[in-house]
Symmetry: D3
Subunit: 137 residues, 6 copies
């Protein structure tokens, strides 16, 4: 039996961000249950579940967009965690955010790095990064 969009969305959300993502949705659902349902169904059940792009690439795109938009710090922190969860390295995430200085300006990149720093601290990732290709060689 084919899963519903909601089941597919929850599975994707779990694949993207583990129990943390599911927790975000449950908190939202306590106040805004319909919007929590849409959040599971459209972004995750419809879009992230599509086969044409890997989850690593999807998270790179999302971190880039949220950093560039510059008005979605809570969501950016969530997706830094998600990017790590789907296999992006810390250095790759820092690179994406630094690259946004080119497209959205240095303040957007600086505020993005502040979100990265908070998310890395929660994950126990020390800064500056130490590996050769990293952001802090």
């Amino acid at each position: 039996m084919e899963p519903t969009r909601h089941e597919r969305g929850l599975a994707q959300l779990h694949a993207v961000d583990g129990p943390a993502g599911v927790g975000v949705v449950e908190t939202l659902a306590a106040a805004f249950p319909d919007f929590a349902r849409y959040l599971v169904e459209y972004p995750f059940g419809d879009i992230y579940a599509r086969p044409g792009l890997g989850l690593r690439e999807r998270e790179i795109a999302t971190v880039a967009a949220l950093c560039a938009l510059g008005n979605a710090a809570p969501q950016l922190r969530v997706h830094v965690h998600a990017a790590l969860h789907v296999g992006c390295t810390p250095a790759e995430i820092v690179e994406v955010v630094m690259q946004m200085s080119v497209y959205a300006g240095f303040p957007a990149a600086l505020n993005g790095l502040a979100a990265v720093r908070e998310a890395f601290a929660q994950e126990g990732i020390a800064l500056p990064l130490r590996d050769a290709a990293g952001a802090g060689a």
Copy 2:
């Protein structure tokens, strides 16, 4: 002998977008030579030349950001070409742009798809895409 930032930037620009990218810079240089130099040196000589992230991933990040920002259609078209040039599939590019409906809204995605359509037409890529995982099954 180590290349200068400018030499490294031109090499990266060529790697990212082939002769088309170099042409864009030359046109710019005819009117604004200093800014053409900065465009080569900082985005390409400093950022794209860094080892921590692949060019495919860099172009995914850039297409996502330009689509989300929504006020840079000419640059988005250039980077759709560049994304193809560094090995993104047409389907991957369409996926990135469709995903922006989640983060920047449907108008940003629709205008991004219009830029994709123009760039694909210049590349001779027919729409809708036909492959199973594509945007137009």
Copy 3:
């Protein structure tokens, strides 16, 4: 039998914008069929179909948002037509756009009025508006 999200979305799209809206989706579907489906299903099948807000109010909100964002002129024109279609008066639409000068600045309002002018011309609505409460008394 309950309609599918897609059927409900098409019905809403027709209610909101008449045959013109359906035409926009069909044009989109020729190049990006999956995204055309999402555009029918999420915005119209899920959101506009909800009972908690009238279509007049939904179009006022949409015209306001698109004018304020300032990077979605094609979509703003579509929704000026839609606002008229669901019963907003020309004067009400002009008021919403002028009000955006307060929240998004005079350039956003000026560019919004340019979109209004184009849409009104297609509808045969003469400017300046003549009625007492209008924008051009």
Copy 4:
């Protein structure tokens, strides 16, 4: 005797947001008296005082725009209060904000719902909403 723009603006401000709106302006005036005067005169004395659009519709437009812009959380909270004050139902306000997911993306809507939650808490409005047409049926 016709009221001055300032008198008309103060009256509109009171109509839109009651004593709270007047308090915001007084706080502003303590540090920036000229700008406090402009805030009363142009947005309220000129724009909101116009007859062509009802205050309910004006607040729907403003909540939509501030949510879509995504960088004006304090002002969004003020206008959620104002929307309730001029007769919008809690469900209508939640609908407007959820609709912004379509035009400005899910992060804008999520951050808008956070502002709604804060404003509703101050007004003693429990979430999720319970009525049939509400956001949390």
Copy 5:
């Protein structure tokens, strides 16, 4: 006798942009007379007429903001003309726009330079600029 806000605004508009600025307002007034009046009265009659900042500085601020916002190309062209009209040199204007690459990204600066190029062409200013401190030495 003290001038009205409208008279003061028209005088400022003339000081800022000469007959061209007045022409823009007259074109606007043919379709949206009330908004044309507000455009004269608030930005020019209230703000530009204030003594605390020179017109050169006001135009530098406006060119910077319009370039950074990136969704107001027609207004940016108008204010490049205005900046020249109040005594900014071509090189200063190019500097302001290039500087926006830092705060709003390279695409904003590139699109700003395109607006500069169009406005300079209408003014008969050749690019690249030749003087020592210019953008094209």
Copy 6:
């Protein structure tokens, strides 16, 4: 011997914002050393070091842009300090921010004035300003 870009950037940073600016970069460098280096080299070593525009004018442009963008409050506070440091008067800074109400809307200006208030408090500048041409006459 000509200074390196990095030396020139540090000198400019010191000229623009004194020891405070250097402190910001050192804090950044502890976590993201490469980006701290770019921040010194491109914005300050390349752009601010150019001869075509005075530092007062550069800071007016930056305060205007950051206020208009509305998503860079920490950077706006830094540049209010910098604007004072290079010789802008408090009144000039308030004028620039109030002017942004025209180009980016009243919420952007209000949030900009909040940043001004915080920065002025740290500098011991009392509000409202008292001088004749000031913002609070």
